[in-house]
Subunit: 322 residues, 2 copies
């Protein structure tokens, strides 16, 4: 048995209050931590408050809260001042994927906290060992990689950099179980981490197939969603291969691996999207066309879906562990 | 509005009664077709009968049946003799991925049926245009690619070969809607088809990461399942990118694409699995260790899961289409 840590005494901090940062703040708060949340960009604060309130309502509607919403609202302190981190034992950085911006944030966190406060990044693009070099006392720095919505997903990758000390990583691993996660430890500090690497392999191939006219965006989405989406909540990739029967795969690998795309360049279609400053569903402009109302309805129904898929995954996790 | 076809008068046939073939026979039968099912391997017949009965029970428990199970059992005729196909307008081949074996099957189907009977393959490895050359009257041949369990998934890819005539493909596309599918038409006859190509890109990368010691089989499975598995039932790959915000992806592509594996060889680990004749969960021997009882419990709980995820996908499909 893993001993329980009393998290109500452990203050935690979050820097960067976009979609991911606010979601992490909510997750830590629901798990029992007092939370200090800092917006390095001043105008983020008001949006952050709304976003946190909305997510707490979502969590409440999903049966995740033991206390009224106001109880949690009161335990998340929003600020522009890093000084609120002074008693934090763990601070999570969730700002943009830019080394210079992150370096500034780490300097400010370090200045406000003790030398054994664990500092972590949610980066999915920059090696933890690189970021670590920008942190005073780099032994207490590591990657903690969350999935959205942070309060309602079990995924968590914990990544040590070259200089990360085990005592800090082990402590976070233990905490993660109390956050309701199924954490995995990354053996090495690779770029993109495991699940992102796998998804980037998919992105590379799908852009290739669309560019070659082998499929359309809408058809590829429909097909993958109804195919992979019908089992992926239940099992991983290797488990899937076992379920399908391993012996056929070898022959198919031999035939298909040489046909897969090996591009190292950003796909043309993506370059065009960036040029025209298309952002996606949050701005109701993207690869698909929709009105702002449709985009809002889509986000709302996905929030509902999150709840259902979380409960479904939970239920089958219990069955599999019996 | 698409006019409804009266499928109760359209006899359909299935050759190859393994996991996929029996599941397809059940799907066609539930959709209303009379079904003739031929096992080219004699000992498959007894297993096929049991497998069909079990799947009909599953469909019944999931609320998919309008009639008692016996009604459907009586509308699936099992045989070793291709002559049962004589009145079939569509015959689906689901035998092993071997050109010579498939050629023998096509000759026998063609000998038993009329020249305008549509013949199709569920292959996910051999180009439809190649298979087509082994079929008399190749214009009526096409690929119909199912997902498992065939009676409880919406996925279907319809693939034309170079010589496939539109009238046959259009007819199958129309029928597919009556089977409860969300069919996609493949523009071209590529190996592996869209969803498989995407999955093979994942397989290539995941074997690479495990081989390099970047992750373990169990951790990779856990991470991917809890990450991708938390949204994939709801949306496709491009939809996901939109939801995440397109602008970040371009930078990450630039950094990560050059790091992805480009192997053309069967991974070492897979070669070893093949050598030791490990088959997977059906024989309770594979990458994971489990007892036969655990393997059976796993299959049973996945059947339950299929039902739930099908209903969940259905519910959100309706919301998205509103």
């Amino acid at each position: 048995m893993r001993p329980k840590i009393d998290v109500s005494e452990i203050e935690t901090g979050v820097v960067g209050l976009g979609m991911m940062g606010t979601s992490i703040a909510v997750a830590l708060c629901i798990a029992g931590h007092p939370v200090k949340a800092v917006a390095p960009i001043a105008h983020e604060l008001e949006n952050a408050r709304k976003s946190i309130a909305r997510q707490l309502q979502h969590a409440d509607a999903s049966g995740l809260l033991q206390q009224p919403i106001s109880f949690y609202m009161n335990r998340i302190r929003l600020s522009e001042d890093y000084f609120v981190f002074q008693n934090c034992r763990l601070v999570l950085e969730c700002v943009i994927e830019d080394k210079a911006a992150k370096a500034r944030v780490y300097r400010k966190i370090a200045a406000a906290t003790g030398t054994d406060t664990v500092i972590s990044s949610n980066t999915s693009a920059i090696p933890v060992s690189d970021l670590q070099e920008m942190v005073p006392e780099p032994g207490r720095f590591l990657g903690i990689h969350w999935a959205e919505p942070a309060y309602m997903t079990r995924f968590m990758e914990i990544t040590k950099g070259i200089r990360t000390e085990d005592r800090y990583a082990d402590w976070v691993y233990q905490l993660a179980h109390q956050w309701g996660k199924e954490p995995t430890f990354l053996q090495k500090d690779i770029r993109g981490f495991v699940t992102n690497r796998l998804m980037y392999a998919v992105y590379r191939e799908i852009f290739h197939l669309v560019a070659k006219g082998e499929t359309t965006i809408a058809d590829a989405d429909k097909a993958f969603r109804y195919d992979a989406g019908s089992w992926m909540t239940y099992m991983g990739i290797f488990e899937r291969m076992e379920q399908q029967g391993l012996s056929d795969f070898s022959k198919i690998f031999q035939r298909i691996f040489p046909k897969l795309d090996n591009s190292t360049e950003v796909p043309q279609l993506m370059q065009e999207m960036v040029k025209t400053k298309v952002k996606g569903v949050q701005q109701a402009r993207g690869l698909y066309t929709y009105t702002r109302e449709e985009a809002a309805a889509w986000e709302k129904s996905f929030a509902e879906f999150n709840k259902e898929i979380y409960q479904l995954a939970d239920q089958y996790q219990k069955i599999k562990n019996e």
